[in-house]
Amino acid sequence: MSGMPSAPALGQVGRLRSLADFYVTTMRTEIQTQFQYRAATYMYLLGMVAEPVIYLVVWSTIADSAGGEVNGLTAGDFAAYYIVWTLVRTMNIVFTPYGWEWRIRNGELSGQLLRPLHPIHYDVAQFAGGKIPWLFYYLPIAVVLTLVFEPTFDVRPAEIVVFAVAIWGAYLIRTFNQTALGLVCFWTTRVGALFSLYIVLELLLSGRLVPLTLMPDWVQTVAWFLPFRWTFYFPIETLVGDLTNAELLAGLGMQLFWTLVGIGLFSLVWRFAIRRYTAVGN
């Protein structure tokens, strides 16, 4: 009521507003940090670009030697696929299980648990903020790749809109999957082997290694029912492929579904994991 300086308990709206405020501030800080270490970040990105360039060169070579196309994909199609791939990859970089391993082993988590917000908010906000500078870093790389590999594009406005949403869907799915995996570090501090297994599955089933249409039919079927496909192949295909509006919407629906599954899985594991946490140091 009147006369009270400020209510100690915020309402639902107030809580959401302060959470939004927190996200904006964290993202802004991260944007400034990332812009500060330009050279280092660029070097990191260059290392990352090698991966799609290798795939691209190999498959264009095959397309050229096989009379122009492989399974209906021309060298230009491969170029388009892997150039968009690079953007999607930049956008779906998330806090890895190695980060959790380090955080738990060094007792770094203790301080983070004392804060009023769940630590996941910091990770989501921080990496989301990092995307903005990385987008700027991506642009010259995209220009160079476009000049060198001459992609063929045919994009509708609706596809661009869906793409802009889908890259964030991919970001969230990967975030929660990898965080759930990272929580395994509460039980063991050697997550490397498990994470490698995850990456191998992702390589094969997401379209990260090759466009999924080059995979055997049964692999494509399996991939449709797993989350990986929606973090690479679907966002890339929105721009590169010829998806109908219904397919675009269905894809976004699947992304929403897997994001919710990821959040559910993460919350469940977190509840058990956090009971096991005993700080070391700090």
């Binding site: 280092a40 070097m43 990191y44 290392g47 095959i62 490698s196 297994l197 080059l214």
Partner: protein, 261 residues
């Protein structure tokens, strides 16, 4: 002579240190097998759509994959750990401890750290090479074998020189955390013959990052496609790179002004 003895002693201590952590061995084997498995699957996909890649058959590409694994083992077990430690010590001002010892500083900073289990890639790579040769069926002559051994040695030295030059960069650029990622990305280009890459990239991974010499040339030797001129050139390039990297290391050292006591 003393230099060599000190180097061997350091390496032995490093090996003994890692021998304490045996579970890591099993985990590393698993990870290496996964990495090689992905490589094999990629080849399977590639050759379900074509019969040769830039003149290389499936079996010959397997030899490349094997050599790449061997080199990855060498880099990850010995070269990279030492160079990253150098970079970190320059950043923290701790390099003084190495510089004040009465032996050659370059030798010392190159042998202080060993990650033994990373070396499992070497036998795994050797098995793949053996498998590739068995599939090729041809006999590897004595000369081919010698050329292969020499090419491998040149490749390893070149990768060492490359890493030394990068790590020496720490004397000017302080934050070098990105080095492993950068190297790893570029090193993956070695899983395919350098001939398939566009000219500018081929030049880069031949002379700037010595991937071609470290991986493609040994693989050419073992599949009997190597010309002796290439090997001679690799030898000269290795000598030049070694001289240059040693000079650059000493040049960088003059910029080092320790920060700690």
């Amino acid at each position: 002579m003393t230099t060599l003895r000190v180097a061997l002693l350091h390496l032995r201590v490093g090996v003994m240190n890692d021998l304490q952590y045996r579970v890591n061995f099993a985990l590393q084997v698993l990870q290496s097998i996964l990495a090689v498995g992905v490589g094999l699957i990629v080849f399977q996909l590639v050759f379900s759509h074509t019969t040769d890649l830039n003149g290389w058959t499936h079996s010959e590409l397997l030899a490349i994959l094997g050599v790449q694994a061997v080199m990855a083992g060498v880099v990850h077990a010995v070269i990279q750990p030492n160079m990253m430690r150098l970079s970190e010590e320059v950043q923290d001002g701790k390099l003084d401890h190495a510089l004040t010892k009465p032996v050659d500083a370059q030798m010392l900073i190159s042998v202080r750290q060993v990650q033994l289990w990373q070396a499992v890639d070497i036998p795994i790579g050797a098995v793949i090479i053996g498998f590739a040769l068995a599939r090729l069926g041809g006999n590897v002559g004595v000369l081919d074998a010698l050329a292969f051994a020499a090419a491998l040695a040149f490749g390893a030295v070149l990768l060492y020189c490359f890493w030394l030059v990068l790590a020496t960069g720490s004397f000017w650029v302080v934050r070098m955390w990105f080095l492993p990622e950068l190297f790893e990305g570029i090193f993956q280009t070695g899983r395919f013959p350098v001939g398939i890459y566009p000219d500018w990239l081929r030049f880069g991974i031949t002379f700037l990052v010595p991937i071609a010499f470290a991986i493609t040339v040994p693989a050419e030797a073992v599949t009997s496609r190597l010309e002796w001129q290439t090997l001679l050139f690799a030898a000269l390039f290795t000598v030049a790179a070694f001289v240059f990297s040693r000079w650059f290391w000493r040049f960088g050292l003059r910029h080092y002004t320790g920060a700690s006591a």
